[in-house]
């Protein structure tokens, strides 16, 4: 499978990139590391007239500590750099650990943070060659009106599988977006529409320039657990981030964030599960209840790659594991 024809543009400044993108609107797409976009181009899943590379905007490749112990990460920072960063700040090393779980060393060398945040949702009926897809009517994600995964479904159920996103949301990260009119900042959680057809809330011409992670603060433990079918080079079957703060002495969990990836068309904030635990003393029974609540938070699970039952069991198991391990980190801090 070859790349389709497109014009390749390589601006040197963010402003220039912004101008090109506003000028070409829907006809243009940006490419950063290309580890996701190039595959989709080859499969003709997307066919932009222009591909605008962000790869030459070197001033977006940085990891800077921010006041108070947080960190600002440029959108073009390689996943590998995150993985290898000495320390991102107290309580933030989970980001490096999550980075190390993505794909393979080769892919991490090319893949960027911005590209991961904007990773399109996936489905094995959609991420296929032109030849393969043409044997069936186009599905919702391809602007058609059927879904091949959920027969009779009325929307797209493709999966959001970016590994960096659950821990970043659990850490309350926000993103800086360069728009044709200027710059705006939004909570990372708000970047996601939850809609498989168009999972990322960015308009044509908008690019992400930075991710800001606030200080974790004392007494906070965060983990990201990932289950994949194979031990390397594999998307998550389920990825769970849990960020717990509290006092080991009292055993009371003061605050908690649980975010689940690869179960829906966007990262799922398990607010039901959080409510079960917040302000309470952690007990095995409570964790079990929270895990059950998380399964409810996830809602509909579709059979992409696994059976529904298996995934449901894994959500439950990994949520309880994540809470326990995050609490362990609180206890030692």
């Amino acid at each position: 499978m070859r790349l389709p024809k497109f014009d390749y543009l390589a601006p040197k400044e963010v402003e220039e990139a912004g101008d090109l993108l506003s000028r070409f609107g829907e006809k243009a797409m940006v490419v950063a590391g290309g580890t996701d976009l190039i595959v989709r181009l080859r499969q003709r899943v997307v066919t932009p007239r222009y591909v605008v590379s962000l790869g030459f905007l070197s001033n977006l490749d940085y990891i800077k500590p921010s006041p108070g112990g947080g960190v600002s990460i440029g959108a073009l920072t390689r996943v590998h750099s995150l993985e290898r960063a000495e320390s991102l700040g107290s309580g933030l090393d989970v980001i490096s650990l999550a980075a190390g779980k993505l794909a393979s060393p080769q892919i991490r060398n090319a893949a960027t943070v911005g590209g991961n945040l904007c990773l399109d949702t996936r489905c094995w009926f959609y991420n296929k060659s032109h030849y393969w897809r043409q044997s069936r009517p186009p599905c919702f994600k391809a602007h058609g009106d059927v879904c091949h995964v959920v027969k009779g479904g009325d929307r797209c159920y493709s999966l959001f599988t970016a590994d960096l996103v659950p821990p970043l949301i659990a850490l309350d990260a926000s993103v800086k977006i360069r728009t044709p009119k200027g710059e705006r900042t939004m909570n990372l959680q708000e970047l996601y529409s939850g809609k498989g057809e168009r999972p990322v809330n960015l308009s044509p011409g908008e690019i992400i320039t930075e991710v800001d992670v606030p200080p974790a603060g004392p007494g906070k433990g965060t983990v990201y657990l990932k289950l994949s079918f194979r031990q390397a080079v594999d998307f998550p079957v389920v990825g769970v981030a849990a960020s717990v703060s509290g006092k080991a002495a009292t055993g009371i969990c003061e605050n908690i964030g649980i975010v689940i990836g690869a179960v829906s068309s966007g990262p799922v904030r398990a607010s039901g599960a959080e409510a079960v635990i917040k302000g309470k003393k952690l007990t095995p029974e409570l964790v079990e209840m929270a895990a059950d609540a998380a399964v409810k938070d996830v809602g509909v699970i579709v059979p992409i790659g696994t059976t529904v039952e298996y995934k449901r069991k894994m959500v439950k198991y990994f949520v309880s594991q994540a809470i326990n391990e995050a609490w362990k980190a609180v206890a030692v801090s």
């Binding site: 009926f125 060659s129 030849y131 044997s135 091949h148 289950l227 194979r230 298996y310 069991k313």
Partner: protein
């Protein structure tokens, strides 16, 4: 023990430097002036009649040079055994998603791919059958090839249909003793059903071909094929050219595993080249490889074993259904070869096997490393563990008790010889610490150990020819037709040649990859190259040496001569010697005969097989043996399996180059791990391959194998009397028993048995929950 100069030494591979520096050339690096690029249109339906094909739009696309439709294709089968396959779909019917329908040659691949999309095909969709057992049933819902009874049988291999089952294109029987009596004698009868699934070879290099016609009308084809002479013969048939006018070239091959042993891309490229009047290159896409590059045949096996209290096997009965897909290709042969795997290890006094190759509306299957043998050990080696547990015996002891002895007849009537499986088993079981507790489990992980054994045979009755040329400076040239697909054959054959003349490997020149100068060979398949080439080389070298000695004898005044390091000397008086150079004129012409060319041909012995009982004194050329011992961790919460330790011992007769042999063993073992844990071609409800790319079809990574410090590769050498220096094959052996060893270890860890490959996390978890054991 003979003292060898180069044999048994791990000399550096001759292809190592060019490969690690990226200089080695593969077929796709090959360019011919004016070369066009081809793309194939494949059926989107699993079963349909073609009502019409409109190529006009494609033909009008600028840059398109030729379009091929079924009308252009000669009605000659490209399937080796049974006339059921044309170059493009057979008789205007498509029989699987992916069946080739048309092809285009154009100035660029992009244009060819675009043109393919412009071909309009009108189909009338027909019902299809996907499940092997459904297709096998007497009231099968769909007959895949209604004309099967009238298809031509193309080779000497017997094809036996089943008059009651319209989709069966081959049946094969083995009968020995009386199974009914055997089951009566048994104290315990264990009956189970097992299944295996389709896998893809996943060679790094896809199928590649460049075909062109020379000015004199001869055809030349550069191809990544494992069976160059077979390809030559098919091309000469379909193009109606004398075999003397078809030349097949080959260079390094980026992995074969049997998948490149048939013809796929070559005839399409050749016909397009003829139509366009220009060279045509065709390279399969990765998706095409997953869909039509060939799959391992999925088996469904019913097995019934009878055993006495003391563990003696009294009877074994097997019914094997091979769902081969839409064309017979190698599927009809695998039905026979699978039987060898079933009889080559254990003493079973009463044995009955029926295997059936069954058509379905799914893509082609064929050879995939092991040729049916790993699939047959999957049930057998799990049965042995089940039996052992029921009898309260150690699985190791049960196996040892039933292993064939040297000199005993196996269930197919062949006398057992050179059987090193006991030694393999002893070595791996002691390495893994059999009988000792597995590593301590942590958290949700439980641990367990498992063993399994097996065999892989070398095909009987096939032929290899080589030519050896002596150069004036003492360099020995070997002309041969085996292909180097990473297995190291080039180096190994150079070592054998060097040994014959007592020279270092650097003094051997290896010439291959051109049927115009290199003689006949059956093919680089069936683990056969080393044994056949080794024997042929010894014969050819002797022939060349005799020619040299004839010239040297008068000069040395003696007839009993030998050669070493470029000199010929009198055996009795080695100080009387001359340099080989002295037998040539200053112009480089030998004193006699114009050229010193030695010829060696070797045909592995074979014996007739009784069609009703499968009995034959020589059903295979030789057997190699293997034992695996593994230790796994199983996560009781997720069903994950981790291979913690893995020992593998292979009886290869003689390791000509031990490092190469280890490479074959370890590579095969990791492929076995893939087959055990991950690999399965998944189809959707309309017969299309769902996971036709590497992100969805998972092969094992380095992280899936145990650490090197936790793995052990052991070479066992029980000499095969007819093998060169005692050698037998190793290429396919190394993955035969990996999967059942892992399955047995999983059982040992968590008490559940997965009988259907692969052993996925989901299956493990579901089975654990059902059993209530964990």
């Amino acid at each position: 023990m003979e003292d060898f100069k180069v044999i048994g030494k791990s000399v550096v591979r001759l292809d190592a430097l060019e490969k690690v520096t990226g200089k080695a050339r593969y077929s796709a690096d090959f360019r011919v002036e004016g070369m066009l690029h081809a793309s194939v249109l494949r059926s989107p339906h699993a079963s349909a009649r073609i009502l019409g094909i409109d190529t006009s739009k494609a033909e009008r696309l600028p840059g398109v040079r030729a379009v091929l439709t079924p009308d252009d294709v000669p009605p000659v089968s490209i399937s080796p055994h049974l006339g059921d396959q044309y170059i493009l779909c057979l008789d205007n019917f498509v029989r699987c998603v992916g069946d080739p329908v048309a092809a285009v040659a154009a100035d660029t691949v992009e244009i060819a791919e675009d043109a393919v999309k412009l071909i309009k095909v009108e189909y009338e969709e027909l019902p299809a059958v996907f499940d092997g057992e459904e297709a096998f049933a007497k009231d099968q819902p769909v007959v895949v090839h209604p004309d099967l009874p009238s298809y031509k049988v193309l080779t000497g291999m017997p094809i036996r249909l089943d008059p009651e089952r319209a989709n069966v294109c081959q049946t094969y029987k083995v009968r020995s003793g009386d199974v009914e009596r055997g089951f009566k004698e048994a104290d315990l009868v264990v009956e189970n059903k097992y299944t295996t699934v389709r896998m893809q070879h996943c060679q790094l290099e896809p199928h590649v071909v460049v075909a062109w016609f020379e000015p004199d009308g001869n055809l030349t084809v550069m191809s990544s094929n494992q069976m160059v002479y077979d390809l030559k013969s098919v091309l000469s048939k379909v193009l109606k050219l004398s075999p003397s006018r078809v030349r097949v070239l080959s260079s390094y091959i980026g992995g074969g595993y049997g998948g490149k042993g048939g013809v796929r891309a070559e005839p399409i490229a050749a016909l397009l080249a003829r139509k366009a009047g220009k060279p045509v290159s065709l390279i399969f896409t990765r998706e095409e490889m997953f869909v039509f590059g060939g799959h391992r045949v999925p088996y469904s096996i019913d097995i019934k074993d009878g055993v006495k209290k003391d563990g003696t096997l009294t009877a074994r009965e097997m019914r094997v259904i091979l769902a081969i897909g839409l064309y017979s290709e190698k599927g009809v042969l695998i039905a026979r070869r699978a039987a060898a795997g079933a009889v080559g290890t254990y003493r079973v006094p009463n044995f009955k096997l029926d295997s059936y190759s069954v058509y379905t509306n799914l893509p082609m299957t064929g050879a995939l490393r092991g040729f049916g043998c790993p699939e047959i050990q999957w049930p057998i080696e799990q049965q042995m563990d089940i039996i052992a547990e029921k009898l309260g015996m150690d699985p190791l002891e049960l196996r040892i008790k039933n292993i064939l002895n040297e000199g005993e007849k196996d269930a197919s009537g062949m006398v057992t010889r050179s059987i090193g499986v006991r030694e393999c088993l002893d070595k791996v079981s002691s390495w893994i610490g059999w009988g000792e507790k597995p590593v301590r489990p942590v958290g949700p992980w439980k641990t367990g150990k498992g063993i399994a054994i097996g065999n892989k045979s070398v095909i009987a009755g096939s032929t290899t020819v080589v030519i050896v040329k002596v150069w004036p400076d003492g360099v020995i040239e070997l002309r041969y037709s085996a292909v180097e697909l990473g297995q190291g054959i080039k180096t190994t054959l150079a070592q054998i040649t060097a040994e014959q003349f007592g020279i270092p490997v650097e003094q051997v020149r290896m010439v291959s990859g051109d049927t115009d100068i290199c003689p006949f060979d059956f093919g680089t398949v069936a683990s056969r190259s080393l044994v056949h080439y080794g024997n042929a080389i010894v014969i050819a070298c002797d022939d060349a040496k005799q020619q040299l000695y004839k010239m040297a004898a008068p000069k040395l005044g003696a007839w009993d001569l030998d050669t070493r390091e470029g000199r010929i000397f009198v055996k009795e008086a080695p100080e009387k010697s001359l340099k080989i150079t002295e037998l040539f004129t200053p112009m480089g012409v030998p004193l006699e005969g114009g050229e010193v060319l030695g010829k060696g041909a070797f045909t592995g012995s074979s014996a007739r097989e009784d069609p009703e009982t499968g009995q034959s004194e020589r059903s295979v050329f030789s057997y190699s043996h293997i034992a695996n011992a593994v230790e796994v961790g199983v996560n009781t919460e997720t069903g994950e399996i981790k291979l913690l330790r893995s020992g593998i011992a292979c009886d290869v007769g003689k390791a000509i180059n031990p490092l190469i042999v280890e490479g074959q063993i370890e590579g095969g073992d990791s492929m076995g791990v893939g087959s055990a844990l991950y690999e399965e071609i998944v189809f959707n409800s309309s017969g299309g391959v769902v996971n036709s790319k590497f992100t969805d079809y998972r092969i094992p990574m380095a992280t899936d194998m145990p650490l090197i410090s936790n793995s052990k590769t052991i070479i066992v050498e029980v000499a095969e009397p007819e093998g060169p220096f005692g050698a037998k094959g190793v290429g396919e052996l190394s993955l035969v028993s990996t999967a059942p060893a892992i399955a047995n270890a999983v059982y040992n860890a968590v008490g559940i048995r997965v009988k259907d490959l692969p052993i996925t996390k989901e299956k493990v978890l579901t089975a654990m929950r059902k059993s209530g054991k964990v």
